[in-house]
Amino acid sequence: MKILIVEDEKQLLDSMMTFLKESGMHCEKATTLAEAIEKIDLYTYDAVVLDIGLPDGSGLKVINEMQTKQNQTGIVIVSAKNSLDDRLVGLNFGADDYITKPFYMPELVARIKSVVRRRSFQGKNEIVFNEVRVIPDEMMMYVKDKLVSLTKKEHELLLYFLSNQNKVLTKESIAEHLWGDHADMADSFDFIYSHIKNLRKKMTDNGANDYLKSIYGVGYKLSSE
């Protein structure tokens, strides 16, 4: 998966590059609008992570440029402004998703992968992880070809883990992924625990290995090791 990250904050750019690379993506970077447009013209990407506030202009111009090329590239806007207007303008311009700073890295990865899935396969593709198969648009998974139904939250949780394999996911990041603004409700961590317990049970009961590891005090990790 080839990603272009357009971000003028060098430190943040470095972190994003590192994290996305560790997640198995090929990343290129652009720190200015001009550089971003140049790269878009020259190369093809699966997705572009786009900061709106660039030193030499609005990142929205990159979206314009891409639309004239009519390519299949997914666009995830990263903005410091969590405003409804910005979000609507961005999405109306043709962006696929919108994430506000400060974001959790695994969340960004999940958004990118989801956008690419939607763009490239219209969500019909499967995600295979050893003996587990998940179809993103349907709330079900196959364990060794046996259909297992999932609740909405379990499904979202599983997709989040599958997007971030072998990564430690903090409880905070999972809570925000599952409940957004309600993430800080008092007992959301307990719910994560019970969801994971249920998910793990559904997997192991149907013959899969226990891939969901608890990292004490930190969170969880999906790993086949």
Binding site: K81, S83, K101, M185
Partner: protein, 426 residues
């Protein structure tokens, strides 16, 4: 009390006292002079009579009455040199009543015979005079006071007019809307000076308020990127496998602080946005339906505490409001009512044509009814940011509505008066 009435009251009180004292003095003086005059007249008459009697050779012990009230009465013998002057009354045949007189009585020897002479002078005129003087004075006093009162009112309202205008401008001055205040120029230097200072003051307050708002907004926005950097670095650190247990805990608690900062920022940005009228678009919203949906969304948190939800909703209530703000309002109130609820507690959601009421059971409040809506006031819940209810109140203010909080019968109750409501078919 109005300044005008107060000054008038003092003026009238002083005028009354002065008028009373001076009219009393005047009346006394006039009466004294008139009285003196009467006495002098009698004495003068006495001299005249003495002169005339001394030329009269043929009285010879006769009882004589001159005119109306001069009487010469022969006596057996001379008894006294005393001259007496008394005030008395005589019956007046014409007037058919007793009339006051001053009478001078003395004895005199004429050709070896003694006579008692009485001279009387009517006092009626002097009494009337006194009454006249008093009446006139009273009339003048009343005139003066009335004129004083109305003129003072008129002058004052004319003179103080710029002051009241300025006061009105200040009353309608709205910091939220800002804008320059223009005061009318007046003939009075003091008022002009006051207005100039007020103008300066309101300008400064508006400017400061604007700056503060800009500062809050910029600060909150500009902090987001560094926060994103900190969070991303910490997340990278966490992914590494070479951290000790203690280091992991330190990274986690740092992440936690970053989360708090980030939430605080988001709350502050929300507050400034509402202040900056960035949620202007209004539409008719089915309040009942929105409430039900949000209760459903929060179902998991509700059932985990085993909270009983009591919903009493008039489905026909439509409110005119910005949709995004309405959602935030409902979310904040509901999650507040769940977060601070107790195990097996109750949650009431009542929507009628006039009010929306959200109530939850819970421990008695630590904060007062007003404090509860203040920024960063969070009672004894250290995990909270303390902006949720501040945002609620900001939305309510912006909406032009009112919210009331009270704790009674074990229930924390928030009551919102619905403006712009329309009851009809949804």
């Amino acid at each position: 009390m109005k300044l005008l009435n107060l000054t008038n009251r003092y003026y009238i009180a002083i005028a009354l006292v002065l008028l009373m004292v001076s009219s009393a003095f005047l009346a006394y003086r006039v009466l004294y002079l008139v009285d003196n005059e009467v006495s002098e007249n009698i004495l003068y008459e006495k001299m005249e009579i003495e002169k005339q009697l001394s030329h009269q050779k043929n009285i010879q012990g006769k009882h004589i009455i001159f005119g109306d009230r001069i009487e010469v009465e022969p006596l057996e013998k001379f008894t006294t040199f005393r001259v007496r002057m008394i005030d008395t009354t005589f019956y007046d045949i014409n007037l058919k009543m007793r009339v006051p007189y001053r009478q001078l009585t003395y004895e005199q020897l004429l050709d070896g015979k003694s006579y008692r002479i009485k001279i009387a002078q009517r006092l009626t005129e002097t009494e009337r005079l006194a009454e006249g003087v008093l009446a006139t004075l009273l009339l003048v006093a009343l005139d003066i006071i009335a004129c004083f009162y109305f003129l003072n009112r008129w002058f004052s309202s004319k003179i103080w007019n710029p002051f009241y205008r300025a006061l009105n401008i200040l009353k309608t001055f709205d910091l939220q809307k800002g804008g320059a205040t223009t005061f009318q120029r007046s003939k009075v230097d003091e008022f002009n000076a006051l207005n100039a200072e007020l103008s300066k003051l309101t300008d400064k307050v508006s400017r400061d308020y604007r700056n503060l708002r800009e500062f809050t907004e910029n600060m909150s926005h500009e902090t987001q990127t560094p926060l994103a950097i900190i969070r991303s670095k910490l997340e990278l650190l966490l992914q590494g496998s070479n951290l000790t247990e203690t280091q992991v805990q330190q990274v986690l608690s740092t992440l936690d602080s970053v989360n708090r900062l980030s939430k605080m920022n988001k709350g502050l940005i929300m507050l400034t946005r509402i202040e900056n009228e960035q949620y202007a678009g209004m539409q008719m919203l089915p309040m009942g339906k929105m409430l039900r949906k949000q209760v459903d969304d929060l179902e998991m948190f509700i059932s985990s505490k085993n909270i009983q939800v009591h919903i009493d909703i008039d489905e026909n209530v439509l409110v005119r409001m910005n949709q995004h703000l309405a959602e935030i309002l409902i979310t904040n109130l509901l999650s507040n009512a769940i977060k601070y609820n107790r195990e097996n507690g109750d949650l009431f959601v009542r929507l009628s044509a006039d009010t929306l009421e959200i109530a939850n059971s819970g421990i008695p409040p630590v904060l007062s009814n007003d404090e509860i809506f203040d920024r960063f006031k969070k009672g004894d819940s250290p995990d909270s940011i303390g902006l949720g209810l501040a945002i609620v109140r900001k939305i309510i203010d912006h909406w032009g509505s009112r919210i009331k909080y009270e704790y009674k019968a074990d229930l924390h109750t928030f009551t919102i008066t619905l403006p712009n409501r329309v009851v009809g078919k949804v």
